[in-house]
């Protein structure tokens, strides 16, 4: 007979929080929500309270000095989760400022006990505990000390089978507060301002009895409340070949929608692969990506595009617009400058699931880097790796474009060193022939597959991209200034 206690996990009502907590909030746990002013502690507490409180399982919200209750009620009402019908029906606010102002913890504890006994709440919130801490510097003679107070409060509330939250801003490594050891759970909220962007992040520092998702997770506060974007998890490779990561000769190939490109890739792009298209500005990366998506629609393979680039109005772009309007292609278009990659991955994953998409385009990594908040740019490469891994885990085929300054002294594919992250690479370049700029492209890599090693000239027309024959008569193409080979009897062949 299994006599181990089963801990019920409560759904917090904060999107993303249950995932980070490892499946929800343990019932009857004693939790702290900490963070500096303005980080969203009270909002998170309210969102959880309004999600969980019912007539049968009511909530008590104790307000202490700090944010005046009038202001708190005024501002919290702005969130859509604030359900007026629950106030006084399943949620009771109790102000403790008078008891706290008397510097007497016995009295505070007595008042909390009295209210808890009267209502038998399933949820108890105390906001903010920092005020209690500050008052504790002037304890009344004979009154119990802060540590005893917190311990007694913890015992009282767990004994009353209440899930409890203390809200405050007491995280000092130098002076660890006793409340930290008593707590079962510890959620820390932060906001960092760097240049013009502000980023909110949170982490679960502690949650007894369950495996939480480690690391910092970004979140936003909107009129709907807090939404957390859990950091993508990169699973350790078990060594087993999965559909997404394994190399299989039988892997289906996707057509690219550009004549002759499939042939260059060795018969199309293997399904589930990630392809990097690198090239200088105007070389045709976006067109290639657009064709990849519209070809997908033609083949019954829905796609999603994450666009960070301003796109010119050409016929092929109008085609893309039409497909987006008809919801055959999903669009994530953002000009925001405070994004985290996790937020993009979160939105992208949702859209992929909703559209049942199998093709994904990210146009471009350069625009993406600009859109990401400066705080995250240092970790851009690592985050990119996480994103590619997550997308690969979903089994989608990804095409990413990357702006690459033409350098004729070395051969580079990506400014982020991201070339190794991808399974396939197409590079585009400008070359000078007879005082004209010509475009060339080559397939640099297709993992575990044969592919063309030819450098082919191509042109951009109203129809898209027209790939010509291999450039056979010139050498030194990658140096940017090819010279005609001595025995060549034609100039650049291939242009139809």
């Amino acid at each position: 007979m299994n006599t181990k206690v089963t801990i019920r996990r409560l759904n917090t009502g904060v999107p993303g929080l249950d995932q980070i907590l490892g499946g929800g909030l343990p019932e009857f746990s004693f939790n702290l929500i900490v963070g500096k002013p303005g980080t969203g502690k009270t909002t998170m507490a309210h969102q959880i309270m309004f999600a969980l409180a019912t007539r049968e399982r009511p909530a008590l919200f104790f307000t202490v000095l700090g944010e005046p209750p009038l202001k708190m009620l005024r501002y919290q009402q702005q969130f859509s989760f604030f359900d007026l019908d629950k106030v006084n029906a399943s949620i009771r606010y109790v102000n403790l400022s008078d008891e706290v102002a008397m510097h007497n913890f016995d009295q505070v504890l007595a008042r909390i006990t009295q209210e808890v006994e009267a209502l038998s709440p399933a949820l108890v919130f105390v906001d903010s505990f920092r005020s209690v801490m500050l008052e504790s510097q002037h304890p009344r003679k004979g009154s119990i000390k802060l540590q005893q107070f917190i311990q007694q409060l913890g015992i009282l509330l767990s004994g009353w089978q209440a899930t409890t939250f203390l809200i405050g801003e007491y995280l000092s490594e130098r002076n660890p507060n006793p409340v930290l050891t008593v707590a079962d759970g510890l959620l820390s909220l932060e906001q960092s301002v760097y240049r013009n962007s502000m980023v909110r992040q949170m982490q679960v520092i502690k949650m007894r009895g369950q495996a939480t998702r480690p690391g910092m997770h970004t979140f936003r506060i909107t009129s709907a409340g807090i939404e957390i974007f859990p950091a993508a998890v990169v699973h350790v490779d078990s060594g087993e070949t999965t559909a997404a990561t394994g190399v299989s000769q039988n892997r289906a190939r996707l057509t690219m929608g550009i004549p002759r490109l499939d042939e260059m890739l060795g018969g199309g792009l293997p399904s589930g692969y990630s392809l990097l298209v690198a090239g200088p500005s105007g070389s045709g990366k976006t067109i290639l990506a657009t064709k990849f998506l519209s070809e997908g629609v033609r083949c019954g393979e829905p796609g999603v595009i994450v666009a960070f680039e301003q796109v010119p109005s050409r016929s092929w772009i109008r085609t893309l617009d039409d497909l987006i309007r008809k919801e055959q292609i999903g669009l994530i278009n953002t000009r925001s400058l405070d994004l985290s990659i996790d937020e993009i991955v979160h939105n992208l994953t949702n859209l992929i699931h909703r559209m049942k998409a199998t093709r994904v385009v990210i146009d471009s990594l350069s625009g993406f880097e600009l859109a990401v908040a400066p705080t995250f740019r240092e970790d851009f490469r690592e985050s990119l790796f996480r994103m590619v891994t997550v997308l690969s885990g979903l089994g989608v085929t990804v095409l990413m474009t990357s702006e690459l300054e033409d350098r004729y002294i070395d051969l580079r594919f990506s400014p982020y060193g991201s070339a190794f992250l991808t399974d396939a690479i197409i590079v585009q370049r400008y070359i000078e022939v007879d005082s004209r700029l010509k475009r060339v492209m080559a397939v640099v890599k297709v993992r575990a597959s044969n592919h063309s090693n030819e450098i082919r000239q191509f042109e951009i027309t109203d129809e898209g991209i027209e790939i010509g024959d291999p450039v056979l008569d010139y050498e030194g193409l990658l140096g940017g200034r090819p010279t005609r080979m001595v025995d060549a009897d034609t100039v650049v062949r291939g242009k139809p």
């Binding site: 209750p69 009038l70 009620l73 007026l84 106030v87 606010y93 102000n95 400022s97």
Partner: protein, 145 residues
């Protein structure tokens, strides 16, 4: 700024005030009824917004209303709220019955409107519903908003 809601509060408060003061009240009975309603409102609000929060709103309401009703002007330092309320009661009781009724009514309406400005009409009505009986048609309108 009169609104539909202020008329709504005004009617509800007048109804309670008349019922508490009795059918043929004198100024003293009106003063007693006014303070009685106020104490009830404070009793419901103080646990939620704190005694200090209630007192601040009441002082502001008194200040605003006393411009139109001289009997609400409380002079001198009253020390604490009990002394202030005692002075207020004495002032109202010393007025003509009609004046006391109008002043008491205006004070309570202003207080309720101030609260409503801060926390919204719906929540104000909800918190004060044990004291003021609001007619149901307005409540329904309100929930639709």
């Amino acid at each position: 700024m009169p609104t539909l809601k202020s008329d709504f509060y005004s009617e509800a408060i007048r109804r309670v005030l008349i019922s508490r003061a009795g059918t043929a009240p004198d100024a003293g009975m009106v003063a007693e009824a006014t303070l009685n309603i106020w104490r009830q409102m404070a009793a419901w609000l103080a646990p939620i917004i704190g005694i200090r929060g209630v007192e601040v709103l009441f002082s502001r309401a008194l200040q605003l209303t006393s411009r139109a009703f001289p009997c609400l002007v409380i002079t001198g330092d009253q020390g604490d709220s009990a002394a202030l309320l005692a002075s207020l009661k004495a002032n109202l009781a010393a007025s003509a019955t009609n004046d006391a009724m109008e002043a008491g009514h205006a004070l309570l309406v202003t207080f309720t409107e101030l609260l409503s400005t801060l926390i919204g009409e719906s929540l104000t009505s909800r918190l004060l519903s044990p004291v003021l009986t609001f007619p149901s048609p307005i409540s329904e309108q309100e929930t639709e908003l």
